[in-house]
Symmetry: C2
Subunit: 379 residues, 2 copies
Amino acid sequence: MKINNLNELNTPCLILDKNLLEKNCSKARKKCDEFNTILRPHVKTPKSIEVAKIALGKDVGPITVSTLEEAEYFASSGFKDITYAVCIIPAKLKRLNYIQLKYNCVIRMVIDSVIVANQIVDYSKLHSANFEILIEIDCGEGRSGLSYQDEKINEISKVFNINHYTKLLGVLAHAGHSYSTNNKKEIISISNIEREQAIASLKNFVNPKNNPPIISIGSTPTMFYAEHLKGITEVRAGIYMFWDLAQTSRGICEIDEIALTVLSSVIGHNQKKGKILIDAGALALSKDISANNFMPEAGYGLVCDPNTALPYEGLNISEVHQEHGSINIDNTSWFDKLPIGSLVRILPNHACLTCAAYSNYNILENGIIVDNWSRTNGW
Amino acid sequence: MKINNLNELNTPCLILDKNLLEKNCSKARKKCDEFNTILRPHVKTPKSIEVAKIALGKDVGPITVSTLEEAEYFASSGFKDITYAVCIIPAKLKRLNYIQLKYNCVIRMVIDSVIVANQIVDYSKLHSANFEILIEIDCGEGRSGLSYQDEKINEISKVFNINHYTKLLGVLAHAGHSYSTNNKKEIISISNIEREQAIASLKNFVNPKNNPPIISIGSTPTMFYAEHLKGITEVRAGIYMFWDLAQTSRGICEIDEIALTVLSSVIGHNQKKGKILIDAGALALSKDISANNFMPEAGYGLVCDPNTALPYEGLNISEVHQEHGSINIDNTSWFDKLPIGSLVRILPNHACLTCAAYSNYNILENGIIVDNWSRTNGW
C-alpha cells in the first residue's frame, strides 16, 4: 500500500502508526486484565495526551510520569491519578503541590530515604499540603530504591505514621535490568523476583490506616513475561505502546509491531565512499544504540521502505552527525533505488529518546497521514 | 564565589556562563580578524538569537544554520544573510523560498549533485524564485560534498550559467574529520588541506558574473589551528561559543573555558552499590559520549562544583537512564559532601546535542543567574 500524502511532510519527522499503537496498547491491557491487575501506563515514552488515552482505552485513568513537566501537562488535560516514578527531593515539592492544587489531582511521589521522608512531613505540615507516597524498592537493578529487607523501609513508614497530611500508600519497584538480557527464562526469573521482593518488602511496613497497600511493579519485559502477578496491585510499563529495536533485539516484540518511525529524505549520494546521506542524524534519531548489544546490524536505526516500514535488507544508519545520517551500501544499485529526494522510514533504537527531539507525531491510519498529535518535552 | 540564586532553578536545566561565552566568541572573532576573513558563526550549537548576537559582536550579521527551522527562527529576528549548510533537496525549496520572501532575507543553499542543480533551476524558473547556491566540497571527511577535482563541479556550474534567478556563488567545505584526532599537527594538516582543496575546487568553476567566488570553510579546530587562511572568504564554526568535553579531550579548549553546563540535583544515595543518583539522565545530557575517545574518564559528563563549574576529582556520570544519572563513587565521604537535594553542574560531552533537550538557557553573569534566553529546536 502506498501512503499518498507522506511527501507533504517536512523531514525529518515522526510517524506514528495508529493501528499498530492500538494493537500494542490493547495487548498490554489484555495482559493486565488476565493477571487481574491494573495497568498504569508510563507516559514517559509518548508524552502525548492522545497516546495516553489509547493506552488506557478510555479518556482518563492512572498514569505514570518521569518528570513534573509531564505531570503538569497531563494534569492540565484532566488526568487526576498520576505517579511520578522518580525519587522526589524537597525542592520539587512546591511545584508538585502547585500542580496538585491547580488541577485538583494527586501526584504520588516516590522516595527511598528517611531524611527525605522527614522533609516531606515537615513541608506538608508547614504548607498543609496533602501528599501520597510510595517507597521505592530496588529489586535487582541497582539504581535507586531500597532492598526489600532494608530496615529503612520500617523507619520511613514510621515517619509517616504520625502525620495527618501525608499518606504512605505502599511500594514501587522497577525491574529495569530486564532490558539487559534477551533470554526469556532470565526475564521470567527477573519478573518473579520483582513481584516477590515487592511483596516481601511490606513485611516491615507500618500501614497506619490498615488500607491494603499499593504494590506497584513494572517494566515492559517483566509485564509481558510474568508467570503471574498475584498480590500486585498495579503494573507500570511504557515502551510497549511504540516498541523499538532495543525491544526487538531482546525478543520482546517483532519488527512489524513497531509503531514509531522517523521519516527522512535522501539528501546525497557519496559515490566514492558508497554512502547514501539522509537528513536524519544524531538529533533526529538520538545517539542511543542500545539495540546493538543483541542486534549489531541495528546501527543508529534500520532503514525501511517508506510505505511498509519494513527494513530494506542490509541497510542501516552506520554513522550520524548532528543533521546527517550515513547509510553505507555494498551495492551501487541502491543509488538508483533511493535517488536524492526519496523518502525512507527509520526504525529507532530507543523510541523514548528518539521522540524527545520532536514536538509532535504525524499519525498514520489505514495507509494515510490523518492527524498530528503534540507531545511535551523538557522539565 | 557562591551563586546565591542557583537553587531557584528547576533541575535539570542549562546554565550558560555569559562571561565565558563572550570571551570564547571574542577569541574567535579576533582569530578571523587576524586571518583577514569573515566569521560566519554556526548557530546550530546555540540556536539562540542572543547567543548569535554575542558571537557576531553585533545585532545582525552572517550566520550558518543546520535546519530550515533555524533559518526561519533567525530570519524572523532580522538575520538576513543565512547559509543553510546541509545539502538541499527540491522538496525543501518551497519552505526556503517562503522564508526568504516573508523575511526579506537570503538563505544560501548547498548542493553536491547535478540533478539537484537542474531541479533548483527548474523550480526557480517556475516560481520566479531567487536562489543563491554554493557547491559542497568534501575535503577529506568522506560525508557529503564533491572531491575538489570532481568534474561535476564544472557540470553544476554550467547548469547555473544560463539561469537568471539563481546565482552560483562559490564553494563550501567542512573539515569535520578534524574532530577525529587530538594531535595538533594533524589538525594543522587537515586545516591546510581544507583551505587548499576549497581553493583548488574552483579550477573548473564557471562563474558567469565574474564576481569573486565565495570560498567558505570551517570547523572549530581547523579555524583555531589554521596556519593562515589566505584566499578564504569566510569561516564557519560553532562549538567554540560554548566548548565541551569533546573539544577539551582533543586539546582544542581548556576545561575552564566551557561555558555550558547542566545543573542537576542529587536525588538519591545507593549506599549498597556506592552510587549517587542525580536527576540528569539520557535526555538531560544526551547519550553522546564522544569525549571518551580521548578522555575515557569523561563518562556521560564530568560532575562539578555548582558554584565554580570545576570538576570534583574522580566523579563522572557513569550510567544514564531516561531521567536518572548514576555517579559511581569510590569513597563514601561523597555521600556527606553531596547530600540528597544538593546541586551539581555537569560538563557535557557534546554541547550541541545536550542543549537540544532544552528550550532555554539560564544565564550566569558575574556570579548570579540574571536572565533566561530561549532557543529553538526541531525541524
